[in-house]
Symmetry: C2
Subunit: 418 residues, 2 copies
Amino acid sequence: MEYRAPRGTRDILPPESEGWDIILSKLTVRAEEYGYKKVIFPTFEHTELFKRGIGEDTDIVQKEMYTFQDRKGRWLTLRPEGTASLARLFVEKGIDKFNGVSKYYYFGSMFRYERPQSGRYREFYHFGVEALGSDSPYLDVELISLCKDTVESFAIKDYLIYINSIGCSECRSQYILKLGGLLKQVIAYYCEDCRRRVTTNTLRVLDCKIDKHRNAELPILSDNLCPSCSQHYDEVKKGLQTLNINWQENPNLVRGLDYYNRTVFELVTPYLGESTSILGGGRYDQLISCLGGKETPGVGFALGFDRLYQVVYSNNPDFLNSPRKGVYISSPETGLWDKVFRITFDLRNRGLKAECNYQNRSLKSQVKTADKDNYEFFLTIFQKDMVLKNLTTGEEKVYENEEEEKVLVLLSGKGDMS
Amino acid sequence: MEYRAPRGTRDILPPESEGWDIILSKLTVRAEEYGYKKVIFPTFEHTELFKRGIGEDTDIVQKEMYTFQDRKGRWLTLRPEGTASLARLFVEKGIDKFNGVSKYYYFGSMFRYERPQSGRYREFYHFGVEALGSDSPYLDVELISLCKDTVESFAIKDYLIYINSIGCSECRSQYILKLGGLLKQVIAYYCEDCRRRVTTNTLRVLDCKIDKHRNAELPILSDNLCPSCSQHYDEVKKGLQTLNINWQENPNLVRGLDYYNRTVFELVTPYLGESTSILGGGRYDQLISCLGGKETPGVGFALGFDRLYQVVYSNNPDFLNSPRKGVYISSPETGLWDKVFRITFDLRNRGLKAECNYQNRSLKSQVKTADKDNYEFFLTIFQKDMVLKNLTTGEEKVYENEEEEKVLVLLSGKGDMS
């Protein structure tokens, strides 16, 4: 039998895994400058949480969840996104009782059973950022600014920030009533998904890729907001202006999850051949109370890490190149193996990356390996002396056995090759 | 309905999550100095992989796996450990065709359906390290040395390294035959688990905690090795000596997984009240070929991250304390909010951690929050001037509005408070 990673999942190997670390570390530093702190939550939750939090009629809950029973018959689901888990944590730990603003970020796998396509996986990675405890429009602006800073920190210049307001449950439901009435007369011309959604999740008809062109005449949600939602939306735009952030209003941006209200946003880039969304988010002022917590407004976004990697890489493949580092130690004489081994560990203990050969391979093939693996030096131990070769310049220098300590000191960065 | 994390799982919040980052970063740096590179593999695999890799008769496969079918009826299992996945990856990517030594580390959740106990979770975290491609006993020593360096880098001084050799399939099966024969006469006195294991997984009778005292008279596996396994074991001990690593032979150390052969090891500490194993590993020379790859020897270990955190924390709770950092900006005048907001983002753009207030709270309660959240400075913006307070010393200084740039420069670390 041949063993393979399950369909829609994959392995991340070096150098890609190293690129992931570089990107993740930048995201983390940026989020921490903004005052966000890390949380980790379980990989699976009670299925009920996602049904309630994300919404029974959403695509995720209807078609895409990995759901199973544990040995006691409990229904569990691999998390398809992070916000519902974060909200559950927030209520369970009683953070809703504290009156401040709480700011968190998380990173991890998400799971959705979708048709695998290029760049789309069933296990994929989100970097998510959430702020709870304030309904200030300036907090929406903070999140959008963090999105912008994040992509710009990777020298990505070609991107667009879309914003929209989907109002509160009151103004939105009046709009949906109006929209539903108008769509009823023409829905027969729409695709199958739209015909289903028009009753279960009417707003999603607006962001259908197939029927986009049919929606031009329909009323716009952000023109139909109640005065308080309208004011919130205006202040978001004012705050964006204060920070010189460019945006574009997109009346068809509705996001597919039940918990959103008021501000929603998305950042798209053209790097992967077409306009690709690499992150999206919005406000969710009812989610905490919907899960049984004290009413607490919130706003957040999730960034598709796999896609960000692709964008960063396609924009600048060189970001993976790191300078030569460390030393590879060897000897052509098996009797000196103990010395090779001892020096290797001595250097590691001095904080240097050091490697030796655990196979019976020729010196030549070892130098090749050291070169390929990006080591900076190759040290060959002979009976009477040792030769240090700089793999960047090709420069070689012979040292007497008594000079061992001198060589170790210079290799561990406390001297130069003289 | 009340929503809670599923039984046996939990959330990691700050400051614990920050402690996790500190620990993980040390583990990573150390592994990279040793030449190991990061890999990431899927959270679940085909169930068959674990049955084949870990062994049908092991506790993990028999009782502890989270197994489910996807929407196409494929049997999938949440990974209970990392080595089988790493081996699958190694074969699937064809790395077994390359003749060098491949060295990887990974970090992530593992899942076992066990009875939750203090410090034991159903979703727990492993930091794993694996080296494939050489059967040199010095590679076993390298792994054991990395274990030692790792715990010592956390100033953990009280620990013990246990080693043993469980031989190869030939010498071990002869020993098991001998052991089984002897046990048959006395097994009626042993516990239920032992009575079952004596036929399915005979060696595990040796590490039973209940019947430990009954095994003193039994022959010892490491005394019954074939010449080549015996030589390997001797060289491991010689290599440990070369590096001044202390160890203790433990003839009852057998590890519960089918894939191990020859060297097995474990590191235990008394920090959590009793002798607790925080990492374990060994050699697995047949695993790659057993999964259909080209015969490739391997050796590795997995460290229980949750336990290491507990040990590090109980040894030195202060490791979580970080110095004050960043600035909190506010104003008692709502008309100056735009300025507060602008300065906050200006400082963030200069790479400083900066925060402002998104709620209508009193200045006093904001200073309290800033202090609790470990900010170094509090900047209050007034109509005519601004006051910078050092939250460590309590020192305050007034700056004119024209001095704004000067304040920003000194806060972003390019000046002092004069």
